[in-house]
Symmetry: C2
Subunit: 304 residues, 2 copies
């Protein structure tokens, strides 16, 4: 029997306790989600849900207007104008980011750069926001290397500096950020990136976070890496064309992506976090006893 | 000017300070490595250097016999027997692991399972080891969510529990671990995985770490993801064949991979860590002030 079952507990079938101090193994994600209640799931607002169609399928992104309202508005304008249709993924840097924008902006001759239309060319940074007690806040108990407090707010992984009264979405796997030039006001949402590796938390508070990929990450994370150092597809044939990006609110109801996200303030989410903090079963005999903000995936599901 | 330059500082050309309290921007990795001295680089011992040839190129892995000596010995035996030649990458789970082993072990009919030859079928776990003050230890100053102490030892990212006198290689991006069945002694090195996403530190102390990928990660990280939940290539045509795995020590000197790794106890590595902890330049105006163990890449270079 050499069958290898790393992380077997993700789909665990084992029900026998292996340690004296426990009566049942930690429930799996599958088991916990199966016990969730319908009201623990939310449907992203159509005004915040982007559907990016790539040759391989659909990437769904939820905007975060509670954290970056001006960027959300500008991205909605760009998408409404079909700005991204025909643009491309231009950069994939291993263990860092996948970036999409207007490839013509990379050309020496800027004659074919797509105009931004009604969208603004520059925006205030929105790198952090004032902590607002009216927003949902689900803290994590295990601390963080980078911030005083971390947890989830309105469905996003968030870090906080209570001393300065600021909070921001953390650059975790799947976070979608606003690429920019050197100046802090040079980002406008026409160039976006998604984190595809170890959370580069040094980007926190230096870039605006537009939102988060909720479905389809593998369409961004499994692409060929571009040449070092920054992963730009200098061979233009590597670029991945964007067929379209649509805002759910701009689509007839029947054509909107039918997706739900587990509420991060729900009892089931709390159970998932605890199960991950202290997984103990036939395979995992040494519970971690802690969990990092960016190691907690937020479950989502497509509705038939 | 909409040119997007996220992480421009990786190849920064900017020399103008942007804040009053600094006189020079944080040096880039490229600049720091350019100033490194030859003796700050080491050549992995040929007995610890694996060269895995895939259709797309070579993956170089350094074994970690200081931490998992019995596993290193068994893997050397398997490689010496050409055990891995003709096996395959059988699983890629997004934001988790890429795994390679004998696909025939997945078949219901085990008739074609490759024998282990002189290698052992089971090994003591080696999930942690006693802290040995004779090993190099370069601590990090910013703490860790999972362990009391973290740092680098003998070129590997390591976590420690001083209270119990134990240490272990952390499951960071690029860490190579030993897949196993449910029992803790069922791993033998014939099935291995590499971490390709956010560090799954919950695996620490539950699995043996064989070593670390030092070159070629993009050949493991950019592969198509298999179907959820665990990413196994149930469509066998997706499997990536392993052409060969060789131990440098088994090759004539002229055929060994010529690679060097920056010493983690070198002044240049310390400068790299500090530059990452407190990057401040024209682009990064808000230094992180901290760095996570698994966010520190260990530079390597191929020698012509």
């Amino acid at each position: 029997m050499r069958r290898t079952l790393l992380a077997i507990t993700l789909a665990s079938l084992f029900a026998l306790p292996v340690l004296a101090d426990q009566t049942r193994p930690t429930p799996t994600t599958k088991e916990l989600l199966a016990q969730s209640k319908p009201q623990e799931w939310r449907t992203p607002a159509p005004a915040n849900l982007l559907d990016m169609k790539l040759p391989g399928g659909h990437v769904l992104i939820e905007l975060a207007p509670d954290f970056t309202p001006l960027h959300a508005a500008n991205i909605r304008t760009l998408v409404h104008e079909h700005y991204f249709d025909g643009l491309a993924i231009v950069r994939v840097q291993d263990n860092f980011v996948t970036q999409w924008d207007d490839p013509a902006a990379d050309d020496e001759d800027k004659a074919h750069v797509k105009p931004l239309g009604e969208a603004k060319a520059t925006l205030p940074p929105e790198f952090t926001r004032a902590i607002d007690p009216k927003l949902e806040w689900t803290p994590l108990p295990d601390g963080d290397v980078y911030a005083k407090e971390v947890g989830f707010s309105e469905g996003f992984p968030v870090a906080r500096d209570p001393g300065h009264g600021r909070e921001w979405i953390a650059h975790c796997y799947g976070t979608v950020g606003v690429a920019r030039d050197v100046g802090p006001q040079t980002g406008n949402g026409s160039a976006l990136y998604a984190i595809i590796g170890q959370a580069p938390r040094g980007l926190d508070r230096n870039l605006a976070v537009a939102g988060r990929v909720i479905e389809g990450m593998e369409l961004l994370s499994a692409l060929p890496r571009g040449p070092v150092p920054m992963g730009f597809y200098t061979d233009k044939s590597m670029r991945v064309p964007i067929e379209s990006v649509r805002l759910a609110a701009d689509l007839p109801a029947a054509e909107r992506p039918k997706v739900e996200v587990l509420r991060t303030d729900s009892p089931t989410f709390a159970r998932l976090v605890e199960a991950k903090r202290n997984r103990r079963d036939a395979f995992y005999t040494q519970p971690a006893g802690a969990i990092d903000l960016c190691s907690i995936g937020i479950p989502s599901r497509m509705i038939k």
